[in-house]
Symmetry: D2
Subunit: 249 residues, 4 copies
Amino acid sequence: MKAGEVFMTHRGVIKHDDIIGQPWGVRLESHSGHPFFVLQPGITDLVQAIKRTTQIMYPKDIGYIVLKLGIGPGKRVLECGGGSGGLTTVLAFLTGDTGRVYSYERNPEVQQLARKNLRLLGLDQQVEFKLGDASDGFEERYLDAIFLDLPNPYDYLEQVSPSLKGGGQFATLLPTMNQVELTLRALAHSNFAFIDVCEILLRHYKSDWGRLRPVDRMVAHTGYLIFARSIQASLDGLEKDEGDKETDD
Amino acid sequence: MKAGEVFMTHRGVIKHDDIIGQPWGVRLESHSGHPFFVLQPGITDLVQAIKRTTQIMYPKDIGYIVLKLGIGPGKRVLECGGGSGGLTTVLAFLTGDTGRVYSYERNPEVQQLARKNLRLLGLDQQVEFKLGDASDGFEERYLDAIFLDLPNPYDYLEQVSPSLKGGGQFATLLPTMNQVELTLRALAHSNFAFIDVCEILLRHYKSDWGRLRPVDRMVAHTGYLIFARSIQASLDGLEKDEGDKETDD
Amino acid sequence: MKAGEVFMTHRGVIKHDDIIGQPWGVRLESHSGHPFFVLQPGITDLVQAIKRTTQIMYPKDIGYIVLKLGIGPGKRVLECGGGSGGLTTVLAFLTGDTGRVYSYERNPEVQQLARKNLRLLGLDQQVEFKLGDASDGFEERYLDAIFLDLPNPYDYLEQVSPSLKGGGQFATLLPTMNQVELTLRALAHSNFAFIDVCEILLRHYKSDWGRLRPVDRMVAHTGYLIFARSIQASLDGLEKDEGDKETDD
Amino acid sequence: MKAGEVFMTHRGVIKHDDIIGQPWGVRLESHSGHPFFVLQPGITDLVQAIKRTTQIMYPKDIGYIVLKLGIGPGKRVLECGGGSGGLTTVLAFLTGDTGRVYSYERNPEVQQLARKNLRLLGLDQQVEFKLGDASDGFEERYLDAIFLDLPNPYDYLEQVSPSLKGGGQFATLLPTMNQVELTLRALAHSNFAFIDVCEILLRHYKSDWGRLRPVDRMVAHTGYLIFARSIQASLDGLEKDEGDKETDD
């Protein structure tokens, strides 16, 4: 937002000078008389506005993931395959000054973009960016949660396990059923239990109260979510499946 | 957890003495040899475990709501119709020491239960419990977000508006389309914009990798979510509907 | 298909002469070597290929409607608001030589298009096209089923009732919840019982077996389906709702 | 329905004598004054009422399958793994006197039950029941459609192909993604094209117009549907996938 500049839209032009110094929520008009509102971006706006080179994660998935992983002030969480920083942004926002986000990424350019995105949002101080590949394992220990945003998380469960605290939460998001199959197979032979596989569908409605109905089209699929918790010992004889439960948690 | 007591399950008996002092994630065995794990409860476990007299909110909805409302460390949020404290728990957890939750409820007994539930979880210091009815309005000003868990939120938009900061987030969850219709109608004549109506469906899968498929039955409906943002002035001539957008946010 | 003409596609040109006389299922090649197959159109292909001026009905809805209405050989069924003939085509195909379709439409031009579409498919002999408005009622009696494809079916239940046989099936498809509300209210004061309201969602999957997943986007909404059966007498004291049932029929 | 007998329900007793001779749709009262209606069962009622030893197929799936397969008067259709006769009933009803249903089943007792069920409904004359295993192939040729209700349809595509007419429709319904994967892989190396994979979700609504909302719980999964059409020659170089299309057909 710079003095003297203008913001051009298909509903008219607005001067930056008219915006600077105004309170959030104020109503302005463009040169053509269309109303505009000055609103502070929400965290979901930020996630979707960041520049990216990789597949975006959707708020419908992010909201459920961070709640299931128990992300909040003071928590220490690691992500690998951080991409452009969409999930990183939410993790950094939620863990706050007292928590910590460790963001591994093996592509330096992608990580540079994530770092820049987080700095723009004033959240980069919460994040420790690390260049590195999941196959080399992670330096951190006793983490509250780990999220792998990789096509083959099933190859890295042995790297994940020692970095989680006992009972720590593991999660991943996978676009295809073939990946889900391989991940479940790997989890069945690992130190994880309470495995949960699910998918979330979000359906928007038109907001015309006289013609209440869903919008015509929707996102049919983003990915399957898998959650599991780290346990100490082998699982011989344990019924690990809690996915059969018909209840909605 | 008391020394000398036992925990009885359909898979055998476990002594509290065997659990006390153990690290999270440890593997124990019941007297009958079944394995058990000592895990710290996650926030979703806590929400679902609390005693309640009222309708529960589901994690699938809570996760999306708190993300859309931008709830995190330092935020100030108000809920009205707090019930037994399910959402209150998550709000208190997320806003942390630097934020604040204002929880209005008109039924003293229900509020007493919520207070007790939050105390058990060590989260009651973050919450200001207030006995009161939405019709009397709220004392707080410049709040980041307000969530109404009431059957008739459409009656209280005038009370909500002055308590929100400019651009502050409003949300509600309603089981029926009739309530959605009335709320959208009220929002159309109020100081709110960026109205969004949606519903979230969660489908669990069985975790048997050799027989990958969704579970047989699922929750078909919890409620419709409505979001809107507070704006300063009247909306004459403004296209307020952004619900028509086909994109998934 | 005319001798001497050609069929141009983005994968090359095919001569009509190469197709005429070939058996169904044969494999041809375009001038550029791309393979093409000569396939008899299925009924769902026909429904979607007909010229239309009005909103199309989707196979996902048509399939369920005709099964619930019990449409088959020998049945007598009436539709009102026939439009361009999409549903009419399926009804005519299913009722066959021994059944009968009565298709009411008040717009002569729209009906002319439907008539032409049915003739092209060789199905027009099964259909009695009638110009007329639902408010004037229907001449037929003892019909097996009636489908109203009108925005306000709730205004015409008194016209529907005397044309159905005892226990005859009524159905309608409505895009908005406001219409559903009005229709259910009208049905509650009419000679109908066994009311059922539902919606059908169809999700396509990519057919790549190595990357099994749903397609990215889907149709989120076509309409709500309402079914009811005609009964003789008033319903004082009868529990008419069977929509509460959780079972899937 | 036998003279002198009674029908006992939790809303009172009804004498068969009161029902015999009454027209469809008539309103009776039980001895306790509760209203009852005498209605002719619809085809969906029949499918769900038949005695069965095997997994039932749901109307939501049956309706879409028969429409996609183009089943109607005069068509010749084969099913294998007929089970207790649920789908057989609908196929026999729809193909009528001029069509033919060939129902293969390798378990004589299960087939005996199907035969009995069809006889009760007066539809057994339309069906040719055949004891036999898919691996031995089918005697029929130039069929319009074949439906395999078997756990491993991917093993029998070579048996299916020669029995279908050119362009004939093949379909199957499979509960797990692992089966879908194997079937798609087999189809990719067979004389089939226009492969379509999908699933259908049915959501019921409560019929209380003052409290419009979906029911609380629903069927989350019955099975994945796969459709394909028989073609003459090999498919080298052909883009067979039409599942990528985002359109709803």
